[in-house]
Symmetry: C2
Subunit: 208 residues, 2 copies
C-alpha cells in the first residue's frame, strides 16, 4: 500500500537525521502496561550514570502521563497524542524530534502506543524495535500476535518477579520467542528492581 | 465514514437475529491478557449451573487458543481470526454466529481482540459491551484510553488479588471509571478465584 511505503520512506529519513546527529535510537512497542515506560526510565538512568545524554518521545492515544514520568528523571521528552490512530507513525515521530535538542543528545528512546497489532507495519525510524510483553498477561501473547514479534529486533519479557504468582512458565514464552524470531535476543527483566537491565543495554547495543 | 455506518447497520442486524432467537449477548473487550477468557469461563460455568445454555465467539489476530479453552468447559465455540485487523467487526461476527447452534442457546459471549483502541468504533451486535482491564497494567489505563471506556456498558477491573503486589490503588481506577462513564457499573473481579463474578452477572443482566 502507498501509505505504508510513504511511511517507510519517512522513517528512513528520520533515521538518517538521527544518525547525522550521532544519535542511537530505540522504538519500544508492547502491550498496554507491559512496562515500556519503566524500562525506558531504568535504561535512561543507567546511561546518564555513564555521562550519556538521553531524550525521549512518548506516544499515547491520549494524555501526557508517560512524558511527565520521564521528564521527572531529568531528560528532555516530547509528547505525541495519536487520537484514534493506534500506533505512532514516521510523520508524528518527525514532528516530535523537532521538539528535542538533537545536537545535545546521544540516545533517543521512542515509546509507542501500547498495542500488539497496529504498530507492526509502521516503522518510525529508530535503529531498533523492541517489543515488551509482561508475564501478567499470561503465556500465549507471542503465539497470538506473531507479526509484531517478527518485526522486532529484541523481545523483552518483563515483570518476571510476578511469574511465580501468575503461574506462568517463562520457558514457554522464551521458546515461543525463539521460534517466531530466532535472530532477536529474548531478555527477561524485572523493571521494578532493575533486573535484566544490563542484559537489555547490551542487546540494544548501548553498552559503552 | 461509510464503513463505520455499514458496520453499525450490520451490527443491528446481528442483534436482531440474536433477539429473535431469545438470546442475550455480551461483547468482551479489553487489554491483552486482562482476563477476558477466564471471565467468560467463570460466567459460563455459573450460567450452566443454572441450566442456561451458553455459546461463545472468540476473536484473535491469530490462533484458536481461547476457543480451545472455552470448548474445554463444554460450550459450543466459533473461532474468528482477524489477521491484520485489530478488532472484530459485525461482518466477522455474523459469519461466526452461523457456526453456533443458535436455536439451542440462551446466552452468547463474544470475546474481542485484545486492544484498547481499535474496537471502540466497531460494535458487533451484542446487547452489551464490557471492557476488561487488569491491575497488573498499572493505574492509568482508563485515562489513557478514554474512547473505548466511553463506549462501554460495564467496566471490569480484574486481577484485584494482585493489586497489593502491584501497589495499585483500586480507588484511583474506580474514580477514573466513574468520571469517564458514570452510567456504567464498575465491577472489581478476581477471575482466578471467582471473586466479583456474581456482581458481574448482575451488571450484565444475567441473574436468573
Ligand atoms: N512487579 C512489577 N511491576 C512492574 C514491572 N515493570 C513495570 N511494572 C509496573 O507495571 C505498571 C505499568 O508500567 P509502565 O511502565 O507504565 O508500563 P507501560 O508499558 O509504559 O504502560 P503504557 O504506556 O500505559 O502502555 C506500573 O504500575 C509499573 O510500576 C516489573 O518488572 N515488575
Ligand atoms: N492472579 C490472577 N490471574 C488472572 C486473573 N484473571 C486472569 N488471570 C490470568 O491472566 C492470564 C490471562 O488471562 P486470560 O483469560 O487469557 O486473558 P485474556 O484477556 O483472555 O487474554 P487475551 O485474549 O490473550 O487478550 C492467565 O494466565 C490467567 O490465568 C485474576 O483475576 N487474577
Ligand atoms: Mg508507558
Ligand atoms: Mg482471551
Amino acid at each position: 500500500k502507498d501509505l505504508l511505503e510513504a511511511n517507510r520512506a519517512l522513517a528512513r529519513e528520520n533515521n538518517g537525521l538521527l544518525k547525522d546527529k550521532g544519535i542511537r535510537s530505540v522504538d519500544f512497542l508492547g502491550s498496554v502496561g507491559s512496562g515500556k515506560t519503566l524500562l525506558i526510565q531504568r535504561l535512561s538512568e543507567r546511561l546518564m550514570d555513564r555521562g550519556m545524554r538521553v531524550g525521549a518521545v512518548t506516544g499515547d492515544v491520549s494524555g501526557d502521563d508517560d512524558m511527565r514520568r520521564l521528564s521527572a528523571i531529568g531528560i528532555p521528552v516530547a509528547n505525541v497524542n495519536t487520537g484514534k490512530e493506534c500506533h505512532l507513525d514516521a510523520h508524528l515521530a518527525e514532528h516530535a524530534l523537532e521538539d528535542l535538542p538533537l545536537d545535545d543528545l546521544d540516545v533517543v528512546f521512542f515509546e509507542n502506543v501500547g498495542n500488539l497489532v497496529c504498530p507492526a507495519d509502521f516503522p518510525i525510524g529508530a535503529d531498533r524495535r523492541v517489543v515488551v510483553i509482561s508475564v501478567t498477561e499470561g503465556d500465549d501473547m507471542i503465539r497470538k500476535h506473531p507479526m509484531i514479534f517478527m518485526e522486532s529486533d529484541v523481545i523483552v519479557i518483563n515483570k518476571t518477579d510476578l511469574a511465580p504468582v501468575m503461574e506462568v512458565d517463562l520457558a514457554l514464552l522464551q521458546g515461543d520467542a525463539g521460534r517466531v524470531r530466532p535472530d532477536a535476543p529474548c531478555i527477561l527483566t524485572d523493571a521494578k528492581r532493575g533486573g535484566g537491565i544490563d542484559d537489555l543495554m547490551e542487546a540494544l547495543g548501548l553498552q559503552g
